[in-house]
Amino acid sequence: MNSETAILDTGTREAIDIDRSKGDFSYPESHKFDAGCGLSAATVDYICDVKEDPDWLREFRHKALKTFEAKPMPTHWATKDLECIDFDVIRYYLSDGVKPTRSWDEVPDDVKETFERLGIPEQERAFLAGVEAQYDSETAYSNVKEELEKDGVIFVNSTEGLHEHEEIFRPWFGKVIPTGDNKFSALNSAVFSGGSFIYVPKGVKVRHPLQAYFRINSENFGQFERTLIICDEGSEMTYMEGCTAPKFETTTLHSAVVELVAMKDAKLQYITVQNWSSNVFNLVTKRGIAHENAEVRWIDCNIGSRLTMKYPGVVMKGRKARGEVISIALANSGQHQDTGAKMIHAADETTSNVVSKSISVGEGRSTYRGMVHIPKHLKGCRNNTECDALLINSSSRTDTYPAITVRGNQHSTQHEASVSQVSEEMLFYMQQRGLSEGEAMSLAVNGFVNDLVREFPMEYSVELKRLIELEMEGSVG
């Protein structure tokens, strides 16, 4: 087979294509609140002033800024591409000055149109439990169904969360991911704005997934959202986060921090579909704490961005807690998907599972980094890790770097990884059944990730399959 030949025929391409240009637009900037470029103590003060932060938070942000400045880039293990980030040309805060709104009518017209083109039409509200859609730093639209409010579920942006619900917010804020966890969590702690705060009270099972769409819409503007989700004892909820971003000429930084807390017997599932445009640095810190018999699941799909570094983690703090990471990564030319999982076992009989599948297309590079830690004094912990990689072209690249530390008593861990490509026989078989080479390849790749795609809610899995087909276009070789 030859990497240069065999492109999809026009009919097929039209059949599987989605209109990507819908994501490629941006509106003139008219920001009432703009912190300017670069980062200093003054920037942090400016953000605090605009957001009317309490004093403890101002102090927290300043401390975080010092940590950020002190910490070196993790380039001794990570890619050198990180050095291309110029922190001085990034805008760390801007807000269109619009207060979060409840009803659709209050949303400004151009923002409305953005969402319209993103595919969140008004009608969808009917069956979406609540939409928390982020436009730049501030939440522009927020709607929690009445029944959720009746149950006492809090679903607001993080600023509102810390102002209105400080008694729930503050005890967990920055506790799952301490400021000094890494350079980028420190950066986020210093300048965060936006993101969600969710609290599900004891025993409440949220039937529909809660959703938020994030969007970056200003050149050189980094988005630093901060999400904190707390599921109280025996509650259940699923949160979905999806991203698209318009294309810009210079690089954009996205550095979020997401903290999840699952109290005793709670179940918390966090689903991400990341499709930033290919100039975005996506450096995200995500971690959950699972208390006794609780479950935290990360379902993560990375298709876009220039460089993604994301290793969702679960700290299993209570007996019989469970942690799971399911991840799909697709790296096309010019992209590096550096993803993985961290499983910290901190109590007896905890179990964790990591399943990762990556596809490298063209000159794309995908990396799996894993960490499984089982300390000495525990017993009966189990971990299973599987990572499979698929290489499409001869210039594609894939790496796997797990680290597993096990001490002691009746634990078992297993790690498996395999790297393969779509076999010529398989393609030949499908072709003689009347599929073009491109279709056959698309089908094979979708088959490779199929068992994971099924973990996503229906509308996401359909979208995901189409995105994968689109990325595979013209890549056959």
């Binding site: 990689a389 796997t400 680290a403 530390t405 001490r407 078992s412 297993q414 395999s418 490509q421």
Partner: protein, 434 residues
């Protein structure tokens, strides 16, 4: 003042000029010394020393052996059928015996340098040390004076193994054992390196290097049996280069020493090159085995397979970090890597970092790592057969190690390794009984 000789630390002593050695060798020693001083000590931030106990890299008071070593040491009995046998005490030759085919060069390094300077120069320390110990490899280059040079010419097969014994004697001493094996086209050889010591060799160090160069179509087997005393420490750097159609097999057994760092690099340079990397480590007390491996596929259609098995007792610790790198264009590579840890106590700790970097397609690569204790069911089953629990556990542990040993596929060598492993298991059993 008493005439006590203050020993100069090995870190401060520049290499002396060796009058009998060729000029290039003396230059190489000087270059090694310069490089050693340029390179920094490994630090926490070095990915290649992740999880390593850097505190073990303590050379305080460690110097060159001052006294003539006592004669007569050799340690293990070794093999009955052998082609040659060499013994060194603290890098000084004390035993020599050989019955080798014509054309084979099998000499202590200093004599090889005198008799075949060009041949040695062509192969001596040609590979970069890529897995973290470059500084110590440079120290080795600066101070190496003895060791073995083994050259098997084209189409010569040495049927029986060549044995080399390295004995460490005295405390606070450092040695630099060196083994260089080169096989010509279609040649064949097996070399066994033994590392042993006095039982009281407190803070004795060995910084060993072994370079294996397997020529086209040749077969090169190399075994390391490491059974140093519990106070000794060792850094061992291996570089293996495998040409087309050649097969290299390297086996490491660890049962002794306080701390061992082993770096094994296999570079597959031709089509149909095969590399087998095997290791069995039996760790007890506070022993620590830190093993780093690298399977580098440069050429398409080459094959490598790695199997490391660790059995951990007491508070022991093992670190395994392995990487398979498939270069661009190295299509149709088959590369496998497996590390299995059997935890025999609640306080032992096993860390595995199996890695893959694939830059080509049409490859078959996999890696796997497991860590677990023996299941209660297995012990229960053996107990129902009238076997006492502690014996049952030992049987399972021995069976676990045998999988890697059996891959040697050479009864005499398997028997030798099994006898070493069995002795270690017996030591542990005795203690359990007492």
């Amino acid at each position: 003042m008493e005439a006590v000789l203050e020993r100069v630390s090995v870190l401060e002593q520049a290499p002396e000029r060796l009058e009998d050695s060729p000029a290039w060798f003396n230059e190489s020693r000087q270059a090694g010394w310069t490089r050693f001083n340029e390179l920094p000590m490994p630090s926490r931030r070095d990915e290649q020393w992740r999880f390593a106990r850097l505190g073990q890299l303590n050379f305080e008071g460690v110097g060159f052996p001052q006294h003539e070593p006592p004669a007569g040491h050799r340690g293990a009995a070794g093999l009955e059928k052998r082609a040659a046998r060499f013994g060194f005490i603290n890098d000084t030759l004390n035993e020599e015996e050989q019955d080798l085919p014509d054309g084979v060069v099998c000499l202590p390094l200093d004599r090889a340098l005198a008799e075949h300077p060009d041949l040695v120069q062509k192969h001596f320390m040609k590979a970069e040390t890529e897995l973290g110990s470059a500084k110590f490899a440079a120290l080795h280059r600066a101070h190496v004076s003895s060791g073995m040079f083994i050259y098997i010419p084209d189409n010569v097969q040495v049927s029986a193994p060549i044995e080399v014994f390295h004995w460490l004697s005295g405390d606070h001493i450092i040695t630099f054992p060196h083994t260089l094996v080169v096989t010509g086209t279609n040649a064949e050889v097996t070399v066994v390196d033994y590392f042993q010591s006095d039982t009281t060799a407190l803070d004795a160090w060995a910084i060993a290097m072994n370079d294996l160069v397997a020529g086209p179509g040749s077969t090169l087997n190399y075994l390391v049996l490491q059974d140093l005393c519990d106070q000794a420490r060792m850094i061992q750097v291996n570089n293996t280069r495998v040409s087309r159609d050649a097969t290299a097999k390297a086996f490491i057994l660890n049962s002794g020493a306080a701390w061992v760092r082993q770096e094994s690099l296999s570079r597959l340079e031709g089509e149909n090159a095969h590399s087998n990397m095997l290791s069995v480590s039996i760790a007890r007390d506070g022993q620590e085995y830190d093993q780093r491996t690298f399977q580098h596929h440069v050429s398409p259609r080459s094959y490598s397979d790695l199997l490391y098995k660790n059995t951990l007792y007491d508070d022991s610790r093992t670190v395994f970090s392995g990487l398979i790198l498939v270069d661009e264009g190295a299509h149709y590579t088959d590369a496998y890597q497996t590390c299995r840890n059997l935890l025999m106590s609640e306080t032992a700790e096993a860390t595995s970092m199996p890695g893959l970097e694939i830059n080509a397609d049409q490859v078959k690569c996999s890696h796997g790592s497991t860590s677990a204790m023996i299941a209660d069911d297995e012990i229960f089953y053996l107990c129902t057969r009238g076997i006492r629990p502690y014996i049952a556990r030992q049987l399972v542990a021995q069976g676990f190690s045998v999988e890697a040993i059996a891959r040697l596929r050479e009864p005499a060598l398997e028997e030798l390794v099994v006898s070493f492993a069995a002795r270690e298991f017996d030591r542990i059993s005795e203690r359990l009984v007492a």
